[in-house]
C-alpha cells in the first residue's frame, strides 16, 4: 500500500505522512516513510511517501501509488501520473483543479476550512487525514489519533484531534 502526500512546503505534507506511517506501525504493520522537497525550506513542491506492508520492505521507492493526496496544483500535475489504476485521489478543492484527469477522486476545501474553523491554514492536512481515513478505513482511527498526539506539539494536540474528527465527518 503506497500513499503519497504532496503540496508546497509548509503545508504539513510531511507531518501527514509521518503520522500515517506511525499509525500503521501502531496497527502492527511495517511502514517506511520518505520525503523530498525542493531546496528552499518552503517555496518548492514537496512530497511524502508512505509504504505500508505486512512483510519486510525491500522496495524503497514506491513504483506507483494507491493513494495520492494533492495540496497544490503543481504537485498534482507533477505526480498525478504516479497514481495506479484504481488508485484514489484526494485533493484540496481550493488549491487543485483536476480538470479532465480521470480517477476515483475525493475533495474538500481543507485549507479554507482550516483557516475558518481553526484560525490557521496549518490544520488543513489533519482535516484531510480524517477525510482520507473516513473514505478508506485503512487504519483504525484510534491509532491515528494516538499518532497525532505523538507528533504535534502538545498544546495543539486537541485542536488537531478536532481537525481530524472534522475531516472524518466530511463528505
Amino acid at each position: 500500500m503506497n500513499i503519497r502526500f504532496t503540496g508546497f512546503g509548509g503545508q504539513g505534507i510531511i507531518l501527514s505522512g509521518v503520522i500515517f506511517g506511525w499509525a500503521a506501525i501502531l496497527n502492527g504493520k511495517n511502514a517506511i516513510q520518505t520525503q523530498s522537497y525542493g531546496s528552499s525550506a518552503r517555496g518548492g513542491a514537496c512530497k511524502c511517501d508512505v509504504i505500508i506492508q505486512d512483510s519486510y520492505i525491500y522496495e524503497l521507492v514506491p513504483t506507483g501509488n494507491d493513494i495520492l493526496v494533492a495540496f497544490s496544483q503543481p504537485a498534482f500535475e507533477k505526480y498525478k501520473n504516479s497514481l495506479l489504476k484504481n488508485g484514489l485521489l484526494f485533493y484540496d478543492s481550493d488549491l487543485v483543479r483536476t480538470d479532465s484527469f480521470e480517477s476515483n477522486s475525493f475533495s474538500i476545501s481543507a485549507t479554507d476550512l482550516a483557516f475558518k474553523e481553526f484560525g490557521q491554514k496549518l490544520f488543513a492536512n489533519i482535516i484531510m487525514l480524517g477525510f482520507i481515513n473516513s473514505k478508506t478505513k485503512l487504519i483504525n482511527a484510534e491509532a491515528i489519533e494516538e499518532s497525532i498526539r505523538q507528533y504535534v506539539p502538545s498544546k495543539f494536540a486537541d485542536t488537531n484531534i478536532n481537525a481530524f474528527r472534522l475531516g472524518m465527518k466530511l463528505n
Partner: protein, 274 residues
C-alpha cells in the same frame, strides 16, 4: 500590469521560492530599484553568491552574470572575478551563516584588502535554508533546532567587525528602513573599495517562529520599533542596546582599492624596454 523592474529578474522562475513574507524578497526588490535608479546596465554587474536562502537573491533571481559558489566562499571567488574584471560591479549577496559563519575569514580578509567588492549580507539571524539551526548572529538564549535549550553563544556584531577589519564603507539597515537601505546600497555600489551592508532581514519560517514572530510582518514591526540610529548610541550602555538594531553608517574611509594596487605594479613593466 507587470512590475517594470521584472526586467532585472529571470522571470521564468518567478514567483520566488522564498517563503511568504521573507525579507530576501524585499532585498531583491530594493536592489532592483537601486540598479534602475543608478542606471547600471546589468551586463556590467557580476553577482557572486554562496549557499543559503539569501544567496538565492542573485542566484537565480537577479538577471546578470551570476557565480553561485560553494557555501561561504562567495567573497573568495569574487576576489578572482574582481581582479580580472576590475571595471565591473562585482556584487555579493548572501546570508549571515554563509558570509560571517563559515565564510567569516574571507569576509574580514577582503575587508582588510579593501578589494572593490560590494557585499550585502542578509542577516536573518539563522541558518534559514537548512531549517533553522543557530547562526553566529542568533541572539543569546534564543532556541533554535540546534540550541533547543537556548543559544549559549553571544552574537556577532558584523558591521562593527567588518569595520574593524578595514572595509572602506560599512553600514547596517533593516528591511524595514527601505529608503535608508536603498540609499546605502547606492553608496556601497558607488564606493570604490570594499563596501559592506549588513541587512537585518526577517525569516518567519526558520527564525521568527522561534521568537514568537510567526509572520514576516511581526519581525518588520520589531525592526520598526527597536531600531536605533548609530549616532544616538554614543554613551549608551550595552544593556540599553540589547535587542536593539543599531542602524546607520559605520565606516566611510578613503583607502586605495586592492586591484588598483595590483595594476599599478603591472604598469611599471609596461615601460620596460624589451
Amino acid at each position: 500590469m507587470k512590475n517594470e523592474l521584472l526586467k532585472y529578474l529571470r522571470t521564468d522562475i518567478l514567483p520566488t521560492e522564498f517563503c511568504s513574507g521573507c525579507g530576501c524578497g524585499t532585498v531583491l526588490n530594493i536592489f532592483c530599484h537601486v540598479v534602475d535608479e543608478l542606471k547600471i546596465n546589468p551586463d556590467d554587474i557580476i553577482m557572486v553568491t554562496g549557499i543559503g536562502c539569501s544567496s538565492w537573491i542573485p542566484s537565480p533571481y537577479f538577471s546578470a552574470d551570476t557565480l553561485h559558489t560553494t557555501h561561504g566562499r562567495a567573497i573568495a571567488f569574487a576576489t578572482g572575478v574582481k581582479v580580472m574584471k576590475p571595471d565591473k560591479h562585482v556584487i555579493v549577496i548572501a546570508g549571515d551563516g554563509d558570509l560571517a559563519g563559515i565564510g567569516g575569514n574571507h569576509l574580514i580578509h577582503a575587508a582588510r584588502r579593501n578589494i572593490g567588492l560590494t557585499v550585502f549580507l542578509v542577516n536573518n539571524y539563522i541558518y534559514g535554508m537548512t531549517g533553522g539551526q543557530v547562526s553566529p548572529t542568533t541572539p543569546s538564549n534564543v532556541p533554535t533546532t540546534t540550541t533547543p535549550y537556548g543559544n549559549t553563544e553571544p552574537a556577532f556584531k558584523i558591521a562593527e567587525l567588518v569595520s574593524a577589519a578595514g572595509a572602506s564603507y560599512v553600514a547596517r539597515w533593516t528591511t524595514y528602513q527601505v529608503f535608508h537601505l536603498k540609499k546605502a546600497m547606492k553608496d556601497a555600489i558607488l564606493n570604490k573599495g570594499f563596501s559592506f551592508i549588513e541587512i537585518c532581514s526577517q525569516c518567519p519560517t526558520s527564525y521568527g517562529k522561534r521568537v514568537g514572530m510567526r509572520e514576516g510582518i511581526d519581525q518588520l514591526k520589531d525592526f520598526r520599533d527597536n531600531s536605533i540610529d548609530l549616532k544616538k548610541t554614543a554613551g549608551m550602555k550595552d544593556e540599553e542596546l540589547e535587542n536593539k538594531f543599531i542602524v546607520g553608517k559605520f565606516a566611510e574611509r578613503n583607502r586605495t582599492e586592492f586591484t588598483e594596487n595590483l595594476r599599478n605594479i603591472n604598469r611599471k613593466f609596461d615601460e620596460v624596454p624589451v
